[in-house]
């Protein structure tokens, strides 16, 4: 029990000592830039018409490493901040091609890869009231997105073609994101002020977010690039 009290006391000291660091409401910002990484594993194998698990068979259980850049424009800042944004990312997954049934079995001496470029048109709400008014360095946020994911498949370094069909296309979908940002200004208030005066960066954050996306042309047949995954990153507000 005493240890829990000590922890609470330390947290209070930390918060109160940093009071004022982010409480400056005059620090208006219009734009946010996010850089993020996460593991993206498309739910390809859940496509109803499939009789097997092609993603698992080719790439195993592992996910793709997804890198994304997002830019948001804050349009309304009364109680929290509301804005719109766009993002673009890239992920690829390499595995070994499989020897065709009828020619043998096992792994072939060629690589194959699935590559995707997730694009998002986003609506963003950032509940930064806690940080702005109560000096709690946490900013919960939520996003809703229209998603477009161009994809293509290579084998042996070239675009794969099967019976005249080229292995590339694009999938529409939608997604929701929930996350929380940790306002870094609280930990280095002086540095944060230098950032603001020298570079125009009003706030900087570390964040984690959970992404829930259905990207299968709104339930149509075909490649299902839906996913549920975590992203982690760094963001700045100007």
């Amino acid at each position: 029990m005493p240890s829990r009290q000590l922890t609470c006391a330390l947290a209070l000291v930390l918060i109160s000592s940093s009071a004022g660091a982010a409480g400056d409401e005059s620090s208006q910002r219009n734009t946010a830039l996010e850089l993020k990484l996460g593991s993206y594993k498309p739910l390809i194998d859940r496509e109803p018409s499939l009789t097997g698990t092609p993603y698992q068979d080719t790439f195993g259980d592992s996910s793709m490493l997804l890198f994304e850049v997002e830019g948001d424009r804050l349009l309304w800042q009364k109680f929290g901040a509301l804005g719109i944004g766009v993002s673009a990312g890239y992920a690829e997954k390499y595995g070994r091609a499989l020897i065709s049934p009828g020619s043998g079995s096992g792994l072939a001496n060629e690589s194959t890869a699935l590559k995707v470029v997730p694009l998002h048109l986003l609506g963003v709400y950032r509940f930064d009231v806690l940080a702005q008014r109560m000096n709690i360095p946490l900013v919960p946020y939520a996003k809703a997105a229209l998603v477009l994911i161009p994809w293509w498949v290579t084998k042996g370094g070239k675009l794969e073609t099967v019976e005249g069909s080229r292995g590339l296309g694009a999938k529409w979908g939608y997604g929701f994101t929930g996350g929380v940002s940790l306002l870094l200004d609280f930990f280095e208030p002086r540095l944060a002020k230098d950032f603001t005066s020298d570079m125009g960066i009003v706030h900087s954050y570390l964040f984690a977010e959970y992404v829930y996306e259905n990207v299968n042309n709104f339930g149509k047949r075909g490649l299902d690039l839906s996913s549920r995954h975590w992203m982690f990153g760094f963001s700045m507000e100007y």
Partner: protein, 295 residues
């Protein structure tokens, strides 16, 4: 005080000596390799000098199979003499005139396929030293080389042969003198080998495509050096291309309904152009806010 003038003069002359440099090239390069088939070809030596002020002899240029000295040695041919006033600063010679073919006891004829020999292109001139004596020698810096390469490098080795979809990828190792590999292929035991692929030796591997899956092929590799000499063929290795499925083929084989292409975009019930139009509005929103702030 009375020594100051000679000291100053000596310093001046020695400083000009330090500045003297002669640069040579052969065929506009620093290194040339020739083969026995090129005995009658002509090669071009060119020279430049940082300054010719103070030269008191003509420039001598020669080719040697040894090291460059202050003057040509016995058997160092061809030799040329250039006036420092000359405007044409080039000389020509034929490969068969290299010293290795002109030494009385060497016993080699141009075209010999048993020897390799590196020759250096040398130059030297004298210029006025301290007190005006014609005694200081300047040599060509970084002498370029011409290598007569009669012996081809040893045969390359096929280190692996990967059986792929309608293709065979061959990995090869060879002497560093080899700059190009020629991959030769034939159906096992049938007909002559046909050159199927050439690739740069620095790549280490090459892919022969357009083969028939399920057919046994024999593969061998011939190396080529900078002089154009061909090595003996490597040992023959056999391989059979095998059909394989990449991710998309596996997906389709297992019942995947996506036919690829961009046609499926509109198949989703939404025109993809709508998104582009939507994205097009974003700059307007940016601009509107900027205008409001400015006003």
């Amino acid at each position: 005080m009375r020594y100051s003038f000679p000291i100053a003069l000596a310093l001046m002359l020695s400083s000009s000596a330090l500045a003297q440099t002669i640069q040579l090239q052969i065929d506009n390069s620093n290194k040339v390799v020739v083969s026995p088939r090129q005995c009658d070809t002509t090669r071009l030596i060119s020279w430049t000098a940082s300054t010719v002020a103070g030269w008191c002899t003509d420039l001598q240029i020669w080719v040697t199979a040894g090291e460059c000295g202050d003057s040509p040695g016995t058997g160092d041919t061809p030799q040329f003499t250039a006036s420092f006033q000359s405007t044409d600063r080039t000389f020509q010679f034929q490969v068969k005139d290299l010293p290795i073919f002109h030494q009385a006891d060497a016993g080699f004829m141009c075209g010999d396929t048993t020897i390799n020999q590196v020759h250096k292109i040398c130059a030297a001139a004298k210029f006025a030293g301290t007190f005006g004596t014609c005694s200081n020698v300047t040599r060509g810096s970084n002498p370029p080389t011409i290598e007569y390469r009669g012996k081809p490098p040893p045969a390359p080795t096929i280190t692996s042969l990967l059986e792929q979809d309608s293709a065979l990828t061959v990995e090869v190792s060879a002497s560093s003198d080899v700059i190009t590999f020629h991959v030769q292929v034939r159906e096992a035991g049938a007909g002559d080998f046909v050159n199927a692929l050439d690739f740069n030796a620095s790549a280490g591997r090459g892919k022969v495509e357009g083969l028939t899956n399920g057919t046994l092929y024999e593969v061998r590799v011939v190396g080529e050096d900078a002089a154009g000499n061909l090595t003996d063929p490597s040992d023959i290795v056999q391989g059979t291309p095998v059909k394989s499925d990449g991710f998309y083929a596996t997906y389709r084989r297992e019942g995947g309904a996506d036919l690829g292409g961009c046609g499926d975009i509109s198949g989703g019930g939404m025109d993809w152009r709508l998104l582009l139009i939507g994205l097009g509005f974003l700059p307007l929103l940016w601009r509107r806010r900027s205008c409001r702030r400015d006003s």
